[in-house]
Amino acid sequence: MFGLKSDPSTELPERYFSLEDYEGGVARWCPGCGDLGVLTAVQRICRAEQLPPEKVVCVSGIGCSSRFPHYVGTYGFHGLHGRPLPVACGIKSRRPDLTVWVATGDGDCCSIGAGHWIHALRYNMDMVVMLFDNSVYGLTKKQTSPTTPQGMSTNTHPSGAWLPPLDPLTAMLGMTNVSFLAQTVDWNPAHLHATLAAAYRHKGLGFVRILQRCPTYSAGVFEDLQRDPSRLLMLTGPRGIQVEPAIANMFPNKREHDPSDLGTARAICEAHDPVPIGLLFQDESRPCYDAFTNHGLGMPTADKVAALEKELDRFTV
């Protein structure tokens, strides 16, 4: 049968992976696009963790940010607009041995994919989900996204977006079985890296919202935040995202936060200004759906045949 040779080799020589092992095609994002920084961070984490590239799968939907898998030297699944999460969960369901990174956009995740978003948080399967939130539809050239600021002019709302933007953070903090929620910005590589690494280490679904610059279609949305770091509120604390003091010092505004404190996390997000970065919530005790989907994994064929015969007995007259 194609693709299913039956003699998996078991012994492999020891390997060391360098950054190039995680490089794919030349990234084709616009100059200044925040996506590039995230790509670099993920590649570095893969190297730091020495993940065999063949054991990693990057899954995405459709959008600028969803081009992500094409630029990574691992396996990739660049699927349908709004649908990366069901695919990623499906991959994990019978392949717990694979590391899964999901790249999704604010349109992909919070608009067309919103139903899957809620439910993937509930399933809480072991993977990292990166929400590239540039507050706009990039690939299709500037339409309003759920996170577009009210009043910002787009091609579908030339006189300005009509409604206040959906806040993905408060939305997620209300959803059942969320187990890891963090926010970071594309323009601080150290904080970005540390946050994604923490999500990677988290057992369960590590959700990271990344404020991502799109100079082409939503220039200015994060300009203030970038220019004036005091508009950001860096969450600190022993259980939070850890960065070097030099990095931490870049953020004048800090607050110690216990990521098990859901109420405070909500209050911080609800305030909207300053904009929190860091680990908002974490609870590793929440059940993971993987435990159920993996049922019978590796059961020998002979046992399966025997069990099946027993099933057939039930129908035999």
Binding site: M1, F2, G3, L4, K5, S6, D7, P8, S9, L12, G24, G25, P52, P53, E54, K55, V57, V59, P69, H70, G73, T74, Y75, G76, F77, H78, G79, L80, R83, P86, V87, C89, G90, I91, S93, R94, R95, D97, L98, G115, H116, H119, F292, T293, N294, H295, G296, L297, M299, T301, K304, V305, A307, L308, E309, E311, L312, F315, T316, V317
Partner: protein, 635 residues
């Protein structure tokens, strides 16, 4: 036969056994009275005795319709024969009814004929409410006027002698009656009932066995009839199940371990069965948040090397359209079980239709060639799952297996499959990938290519639904897209070139060839056999492969004067108003396909009654066509 048995039953021990080639019974009642359980037991006993059996449920439209309502008929039909039985047959011979009102709906649906014996619970004649008594009397008179042979029997009263609560036990009493009337093996009946109630404890078992025996005695003393349906000799073990259970077992036998679904009638019960069975055989039913997520989840598992299955019906298929195209485009093996129901839209959720053929073939924008099979028997519901998984992997493409509400709920004995280890998917290949081989290393002739599985070192590629090259690289240039489309299409030609022409049922030439697909096979073949017995040169052909089709169809068609399809889906009647003037009659789905492919003037006869086809009306239509010599008159 003696006249009607009235409330005061006459002793009737004098009956002599009538030998029959086949016999159709129905048990109808309000829902919740256990009619289906009794019928299933009766079917199982018959199957064990070596008879051919076809069981089909009678389902009311609502979850709990009001008692004694005309549309509320809930129950079961069991057709038992001296040979293999492949369909529900025509009118019932014997009906056991727990109230008279539910019979109206069945009569409207043409389930009975003059002479059908109706054994009717007579307690309503003495009901406290005058309107009930009147309705009962009126109905009995009407039924008799229609020629039904109504026998009024005090069933509840008779049950009371054995059980304090006849509402719960009456179905077993009925089973006992049937055992007597149809000469069923009582020991098998006792065993069956014991097995059914085993979990509820000895006392319950004993009470129900007593009820069966009481029913037997009651019939013996009160009814002057007794039939016998001789068994067909059989040298193999048989299993008895419905098509959804067969599909579930087939999925496990194919080695698939992941079924992602969203509940939808009439497909859901596959997952009900598997939710329990996978606990033993290893695997998981994922009930997703919606149908889109279900197919996406299955595609994810398949991409990762564990070919998965998604199960659905019409509205769910509609939602899976986009992902199906992705699976075609990116060449992901995937098995879709589509249990068809009445459409369009929410349509007739519990009823049968073969209305989704064109939708699976053509529903996806752009060109999306895929493999489509249709099961024609419950046995095929099992075996096609094994085939489907293999084809999906070998051809790196989605395979859709069409079944329908008739197969899903019909019950039939068939040869017990001998599970082979080779049916199961090979263990996950995690050996290093030959870097010389591209992600889509298309064979120019067949379009086939081997597939890297995540975890295979050196096989890394990015799957995409965008147009792409053999390196899996996105490419918008004209030739890359043309090549991709060519390669995907060639896989169908490659598969077709391995198939044999289908077998004609009957002579290879004649006046008329009837072509069918899916669950209508039994009814069509039975009808064609009858027409041939009438002296006509009629044959039939049943297609199992709908995409690609089996080869040689044009040659087969050429040997018949006329070719027509018989299907359960919509077609304009040839004499419908305005259809003639516009010259655009909308034909049934397979007919449309075959015409385009073979240019043979293939007519169709079809309806959207939501009912399984029965051999009688098919027989009559064929005869009408042969007589009229034209296709101008159809319905």
């Amino acid at each position: 036969m003696v006249g009607n048995v009235s409330d005061a039953p006459a002793p009737a021990e004098t009956s002599s056994v009538v030998r029959l080639q086949e016999h159709i019974i129905e048990i109808v009642s309000d829902s919740g009275e256990g009619a289906q359980k009794a019928g299933q037991a009766y079917g199982a006993i018959s199957a064990k005795m070596g008879n051919g059996v076809w069981t089909v449920e009678i389902i009311p439209a609502e979850i709990k319709p009001p008692a004694r309502s005309r549309a509320g008929a809930s129950g079961i039909r069991v057709r038992v024969g001296a040979r293999e039985i492949t369909n529900m047959g025509d009118e019932a011979d014997l009906v056991l009814a727990l109230n008279e009102q539910v019979l109206y709906g069945r009569i409207e649906q043409g389930a009975y004929k003059p002479g059908t014996v109706v054994l009717l619970e007579s307690k309503w004649a003495h009901d406290g409410l005058a309107e009930v008594r009147e309705a009962y009397a009126k109905a009995v008179a009407e039924f008799r006027a229609l020629g039904l042979d109504v026998r009024e029997l005090p069933l509840e009263q008779a049950c009371l002698e054995v059980t304090p609560d006849p509402r719960v036990g009456k179905n077993m009493f009925v089973l006992g009656m049937l055992c007597r009337l149809c000469n069923r093996d009582m020991q098998r009946a006792r065993d069956e009932v014991s097995f059914m109630f085993k979990r509820k404890g000895d006392e319950v078992v004993a009470r129900n066995v007593a009820l069966v025996e009481a029913g037997y005695e009651f019939a013996k003393h009160n009814l002057d009839m007794e039939f016998e349906i001789p068994p067909a000799p059989r040298d193999h073990q048989v299993v008895v199940m419905n098509g959804n259970q067969a599909a579930g077992l087939g999925i496990m036998a194919s080695g698939m371990e992941m079924v992602a679904m969203y509940p939808i009638t009439p497909a859901t019960s596959v997952s009900h069965y598997l939710a329990g069975a996978f606990q033993k055989v290893g695997g998981c039913v994922h009930q997703a948040e919606d149908e889109i997520a279900a197919v996406g989840f299955a595609i994810g598992a398949s991409y990762a090397g564990k070919t998965a299955c998604t199960i659905t019906s019409g509205p769910g298929l509609a939602l899976k359209t986009e992902f199906l195209a992705l699976a075609v485009m990116a060449e992901v093996p995937l098995v879709v079980v589509l249990v068809q129901r009445g459409g369009p839209s929410t349509g007739l959720p519990t009823k049968v239709e073969q209305g989704d053929l064109l939708a699976v073939l053509y529903g996806q924008p752009g060109d999306a060639p895929k493999i489509v099979l249709a099961a024609s028997t419950i046995e095929e519901c099992f075996h096609m799952m094994v085939t489907a998984r293999k084809l999906a992997e070998a051809f790196r493409t989605p395979v859709i297996v069409l079944t329908d509400a008739n197969l899903a709920t019909g019950v039939q004995p068939f040869r017990r499959p001998e599970v082979h280890a080779e049916w199961m998917a090979a263990p996950l290949d995690q050996s290093p990938w030959d870097p010389e081989i591209t992600a889509y290393d298309w064979n120019e002739t067949t379009g086939l290519s081997p597939r890297p599985i995540p975890g295979q070192r050196g096989g890394q590629y990015v799957l995409t639904g965008l147009a792409h090259t053999r390196f899996a690289k996105v490419a918008y240039d004209p030739h890359a897209n043309q090549t991709g489309c060519d390669m995907r299409s060639r896989k169908l030609a490659a598969l077709a070139s391995t198939l044999k022409p289908p077998q004609v049922n009957g002579e290879p030439e004649g006046e008329l060839l009837v072509v069918g697909w899916g669950s209508t096979r039994g009814a069509i073949e039975e009808a064609v056999d009858r027409v041939r017995a009438d002296g006509h040169q009629v044959s039939s052909l049943h297609l199992r492969f709908l995409s690609p089709m089996e080869p040689g169809l044009a040659e087969i068609f050429a040997r018949f004067e006329k070719v027509m399809t018989i299907e359960i889906n919509y077609s304009d009647a040839a004499d419908a108003p305005l259809v003639g003037t516009s010259g655009q009659r909308r034909l049934a789905q397979l007919a449309t396909l075959l015409r385009a492919q073979t240019l043979v003037d293939i007519d169709s006869w079809s309806n959207v009654f939501g009912q399984p086809l029965q051999p009688g009306p098919i027989h009559d239509e064929i005869v009408r066509r042969l007589q009229h010599g034209g296709d101008a008159c159809s319905a």
